[in-house]
Amino acid sequence: MGLLTGKRVFSIMALCMMVGLLLLPIVIALPSPAIGEEAPAGDAAKKDGDKVEKGRDVYYKTEGIVVGAPAPKTTDGPKDYPRYNFESRVLIWFANQQHLYYGSFVLAVPIFCMIIEFMGVVTKDKALAKRYDQLAYDFIKISLTAYSLTAILGGILIFTFLTLYPAFFGYLSSIFRPVMHIYALMFVAESGTLYIYYYGWDKMKEGFLKWIHLSMSVVLNIIGTLLMFLANSWIGFMMSPAGVDEQGRYLGNIWHVIHTALWNPLNLHRILGNMAFGGGVVAAYAAYKFLAAKTDEDRAHYDWMGYIAMALGVAFLIPLPFAGYWLMREVYAYRQQMGITLMGGLLAWLFIIQATMIGILFLSSNYYLWQAMGRMRGAEKYQRYIKYLVFLLICGFLVFITPHTMVMSPAELKAMGGQQHPVLGNFGVMSAKNGGINVMITTTVLSFIWYMRGNKVSTVSWAKFGNIFMGVFFACAYINIIWLAIYGYYIPANVRVGLSVPQVATTLSCLFFMFALNSVMMRGAKQMGAIEWGKISVRSQYALIMLATAFTWMMALMGYIRSSVRLFWHVNEIMRDNSPWAYTHTVGFAANMISFNVLFFWISILFVFWMGSLGAKKVPVEAKAGIPGSVPQPAASH
């Protein structure tokens, strides 16, 4: 009893310490905002006389006292752009991308752990609870190895900036000085919390202590998310600067510098993106282990792990296009030319590639779900209808990837009779594309519902009515989405942009209402047979690997697009890039570079997985007892 009380006290102390670590950087940073409008610089200037120079915020249009130096006007040479006999921009690109991959992974996986651990805590089935707990532990173990690699890559990135772009980095750090320190301290807090969370797993595995442990994961994720928000403020500032005047002089208000026009859309987009990416990577890990598994127990375990990771990843993938839409809307609102460069001009073709990758993500997810029906008895009844889902998905996909500006030879251009194709040109604009992506998402929801009821027959008295209602609901949803896409051509652009709201609402209605209705209908349903974990086709596992590869490729692509839209600016319209590499790469070069980054990441993460497996080999036999094997998974858990 005494030992238990001691553990409780210790756990509560650990949790308090984490909260303290979380608050520490904020407390330290408290004086920094005071640099702003009213305090020190202003006071000092007043004491010196009347030489208070004021500047106008380029974004907020407020006046502030100038407290920083103007953005340096760089020149091409060793002073501002020291270099090796290589393109410095490519080196930065590589270092940045790898750091981002690992950073995203280690931010996403603890969120998964939190969700899975919570599911384990609230599940009444003890065997299942143990499986969830073990899965969460497996996840955090992978994350831990990746965490140190993230820190190493972060260091490499900083050194690359310092050595290759000293003028730019000097300027950025002069603006973000307090933020960068808070960032570093948050990193310390994140590390401390992560280690306590990981090493305290076994000691806090039951009862009240388990809840304390779960709370630690919440704190860990808050710290991680704040870390990402801070890093986002730097790129937000580079794209849409605020808090400085036209010369780039800091006006003392740190909140303005952080809270730029694109900061919040970037934050949301990155959280969802990281989660989807993390799910994809873990799913690929599970797929790899499944393919390499030698026993049925291992196959069952990794099949289940892949399914959970995929489901979590897709859950965050579904709202991702909507977050992206918001980001683009804000980009257009911030600078029209930036929006046009992205979606109608120089970088438009990269957006077509992005659309293709998004399509691949949805195709892979759906394909996996159809394959997964193969491990359930009773799901055969849905198989003959899959071809119609394929058709819907592909129609949505084809519309979604149709380019507005087609690549063609002058002879083809002449044969076509103009730049715009009278049939396909209509698919190249936003109204049609919104329809396309919403059809794809709604179809994915439908696939999920079929999967969830694959081996079950509803026993509720109103089952027939429920099925008809669901069918009609989905049919109306498709009709509404397609009708709104057509209607978009007949109304002003500002109203058309607003049409995305009812389209998204339709899709989300399918997601929430139909999931809820299906769950109610399947309560106490008759089971046609258990889910036979591990008895899934190998094609499904390749679909998971495809899913993860598409995520990584798309992430690199979007990072490149976001960065390239600044064109020849380090900080948009404030600090010009005068290096020899201030031009936009060709699509081909960018694609090769992205592929190289993806390849490097996968090779290095394989190394991380291998390291993780070395640790697993040392786990004593009794600790492995909880690892799920051939125990059938209750269907109600989906």
């Binding site: 030319q337 690549v407 063609m408 030879s409 715009q420 009278p422 040109g425 049609a432």
Partner: protein
Amino acid sequence: MKALMSLGALVGVIGILLLGGMIFNVVPSTTVRLVEGYMPMQMLFELTCFVAGFAGLSYMMNAMGMPFPRFWQGIGFWAFILLYLKYRVYPPIPFSVRAMYGTVSLVAVFMWVSASEEDWKKFKQPIMNVLDAQGGMNKLLRYAYLVLLPILIGGFSYNAMVPKSEEPIELRTVHPAPPASTKVHGKTYTLQTSQNPYRVNQEGKYDQDYTNANIVEQGMGRLMKPNANPWDDKNKGYLKYVREGGEIFFQNCHFCHGDNLNGRGLHAFAFNPIPANFTDPGTIAQLQETFIFWRVSKGGIGLPNEGFPWASVMPPWEQHLTVDEIWKVILFEYWHTGYYPRTWD
């Protein structure tokens, strides 16, 4: 169910015969016309009918005890889509887009034939038979593939590598990003915030809704709204400015952009690409009026760097027209096409 499938089968057979007829020029390609204004949905509707038709055909053949092998169903459907894109859709689709569509269709066929283990076994059975080569015919086929496949791949490689005299493919930026502001006749206009001074209501105030209500109707015919005829001499304000814009358009622009504003003017086909088609939803309907103002004022020569390959011969109209005339022409273009300029509020 059977009646429905029979109907589907009928649609499928008619579709195949029509497409075959069009390919071999037995049936005129205009037999089932793509109707202007409805073409994109018509294409998707036709494809939906074909899918329903083929499903019905397969069902009927099964019912008659003559099942069509899954392998040939997959291959046949893919070939059908390729032929449909090549021969049915007019004007011809550029190869790059057909290649994209063809690849996606191939993926779709793969997803369909491998969705269940049973279907996948059926699909790959003929391939496995040839690879195993138990019978004489399969052995022969295997040898044939052994010889033909390398020749085919070699042929493709040769074709890809051989120097060609064709003009290179261009990745043209049709709507390059405009500058933040533009200077015309000594005055600077901020593109994000400037407005067309002639888009006004009867009180002379800027009014987007009022002018939107007086443009021609979209769709076929592009009919004028009742009491919104710009050529009525009594008109004042917006409709009067539209008429003046129309006069300027027909004096200066219609030679290239055409009297229907569809880019098919008298001189249009002397250029490649032909001038912009304002009736297409991908041109002025997507843009702010200030974007058009900038493009008209500065012409092809004023295209920014990213407007590669600067394939526009439009003169910089600021050298020929006043600022007011440019705004009025733009007003007319939106009125005539029935489109609304993009706004951000």
